[in-house]
């Protein structure tokens, strides 16, 4: 089978496996870690659009998850709007907040504006902590369970896992569609050469802001899903350190490949937990791993595996070809 088709079948099988996971392994610990990994992965896909396509780096995406989570919590507390109602609103507020973070990137041409996104996390944590009753102050806010919808009870861990998986697959699909679309090409053009992009009529400021807001919406979605799973959120969840690990994960996995962000989430969030690797060792591993990946495999782990796969497939075809030649006595 040609590379293209076998790739399609492999990813279909892999996705089928993800869907079937709850029935294969009913261990709650495994599903719980998978849910946490899934929510973070959704944010990574948002960052993949921002960095992978538009080339804009942000070390502040945990704060955007926080904006989504707190919007949902406050909407529930103040207006009694449940999970499904809060979802679109939280994504919108997170997108607007991302636009706010993105503004400096328009004025500061160098990439050192990225420090502002890191500063934004700390600022958000301080505002939430001192927010008094509005934000539940330092002790944070509680959330009620998602409850039932169309007869499906989302309080069961298995159903919640499927909900998060659906959101993750939607995020992956959206990222893939964006990458293939004209909009994605325009973002890549801005990344490659902003001056030329402007010269051919692209409103680069608007598009960069758009990319930020799009990635904010992904983070908002992830924030709401995480908040409704933990059922209690506090400012400390969304500070600088979590944002650092989010940025690292997307770099490790690869920001421009479909399975890159998912691989990053699995490497940083999933494997150390499931295999109960000591957190100090696991962080040393992917700290050093990131350095190696950037130096040796700039496209990230998955891109390199894909290259490796393609190289191996080509090698196989060549040797097979040679064998048939030998067999035919040439």
């Amino acid at each position: 089978m040609s590379g293209r088709v076998s790739g399609r079948v492999a990813s279909a099988a892999f996705l089928l496996l993800l869907v079937a996971l709850p029935w294969i392994s009913p261990s709650y610990r495994f599903l719980s870690i998978a849910i946490s990994t899934g929510t973070v992965a959704i944010t990574l896909y948002g960052l993949a659009v921002l960095f992978g396509q538009a080339g804009l780096m942000s070390v502040g995406h945990a704060a955007l998850m926080g904006v989504g989570a707190y919007s949902a919590a406050i909407l529930a507390l103040r207006l009694g709007i449940g999970f499904w109602g809060a979802l679109p609103c939280a994504m919108l507020t997170a997108a607007l907040a991302a636009g706010l973070i993105g503004l400096p990137s328009l004025r500061v041409s160098g990439h050192h504006f990225v420090i502002i996104t890191y500063a934004f996390c700390t600022l958000l944590t301080i505002v939430l902590t001192n927010g008094g009753d509005a934000t539940g102050g330092a002790s944070g806010l509680d959330l009620d369970p998602v409850g039932r919808l169309f007869g499906v009870n989302f309080d069961s861990v298995r159903n919640y896992y499927l909900l998060v998986l659906a959101a993750l697959l939607a995020a992956m699909l959206a990222t893939d569609l964006i990458a293939r679309s004209g909009y994605g090409r325009t973002l890549r053009a801005i990344r490659e050469n902003e001056a030329l992009a402007r010269a051919v009529g692209i409103n680069t400021a608007l598009h960069k802001l758009g990319a930020f807001m799009l990635s904010g919406a992904f983070a908002g979605l992830a924030g709401v899903l995480q908040a409704y799973y933990l059922r209690h959120i506090s400012p400390g969840l969304y500070g600088g350190l979590p944002s650092l690990y989010i940025a690292m994960s997307v770099m490790l996995g690869g920001a421009r490949v479909l399975y890159g962000p998912l691989a990053g989430a699995v490497i940083v969030n999933f494997l150390p937990e499931v295999l109960s690797i000591d957190p100090v060792d696991s962080r040393m591993a992917y700290g050093a791993g990131l350095v190696l990946v950037i130096l040796l495999l700039p496209g990230g782990v998955i891109a390199s595996l894909a290259d490796l796969g393609a190289w191996a497939a080509a090698l196989a075809r060549r040797t097979a070809g040679r064998w048939t030649q030998l067999a035919q006595g040439r």
Binding site: S25, P26, Y28, I33, A138, S139, D142, P279
Partner: protein, 410 residues
Amino acid sequence: MRQAFAAAALAAALSAFGASGGHAEDVIKIGVVAAESGSFVSAGNTIPAAERLATKEINDAGGVKIGGKTYKIQLEVRDDRTSIDTAIAAARELVNDVGVQAIFGTESHDFSIAMTKITGPAKVLQFTGNSTLGQFLTKEAVARGGANHYVFQTEPQEFQRSGSTAKGVLALLTPLMAQPPKHSVVFVANDVAGRYLSSHYVRALEANGQKVDLVYYPPDTQDFTALLTRIKGMKPDIVHFWYNGDETLVAHPQAVQLDVAPAYFLFGVDPGVWRERKLTSGAPLTLSCVPMCWGAPPTKAAAAYFDRYFGMGATKGVQSSVSLLYYDYLHWYVKALEAVGRLDDPDAVVDWLLKSKYQGVVSAAPLVFNDRHQVTFATEVCLVKPNTSGQFKCAVEEPPAAPPPGDPGN
């Protein structure tokens, strides 16, 4: 064909870390969720250490006799790695996969509250030592059918702890001061524990006749000189440092350098640490610990406990005494199981606990849960003899019966 193959392969791989195999003989599984790694490790590792000691004692004494059979306690300890995601995953595993009867933990407020959402519906009893839990243990929440019916707070209501601490501090410091102290400044971290504790402690000091100012500092501050100079400008008689021992040991020396106040109180610093680090203070200074100090245990029982506790290899740290918030309650819980005589009736166990008393190590008086699933016991305050590192005069003040004016009493 593809699905079958994938399913079989994965099942084999996953069973390795899925549910752990059951044991042949009868056991009662008890869960512990605490930080054994990450930044909360200094408080977290005291919980499993305390429960391992209690489990060893119970099993050595012949285990638990229920319905004619003898059970051994099987402790299932999970490290929450100072991350809420891991704490939730651990709680899910203990409740749903392992099937524990009760869970002890966690060291941090957010994790414990998130865990109540899992233990509650599963009717698994949860013993937690965060006094900030008080906000959530309202009468309706702890009533039968309420969200927190199976949650027990193993620390006294904050107005009681603050009340006995305030009385102890003032009683010990006043004789050593030139004139009786009138003006106190409470200097506390701006986080959930800091805000909650200080709101009660300020009322307690006011109830003892003090004019009180409250100053917050951002968590993880290192250079306190600016805030301490501001406090010096308020001309305080006593500066009360709350609540994290490590941060207090950074801030206090800077206060002494600036000569901020004639007397100090350091909450959360154990005399044992003061002696070990050979610290001294010219100004009159009092220390207190949650709930008792391992450096100067007030009762023989407490001293014996700490010998056994450190004997098990636990590290001597600033927060070692936090273990006392968990040790007695495993013993008490086992007695409840034996009294109820069944393992499948958590409601009966809750009712028995609310009706019973237990003479533990943590308090001279027997422990009793009030109608909001909170215990009451006094707090130990120790005066450091000026310019010495190892001589303490400790006192245990009884907590006030009712909350002082302006204190919600939770």
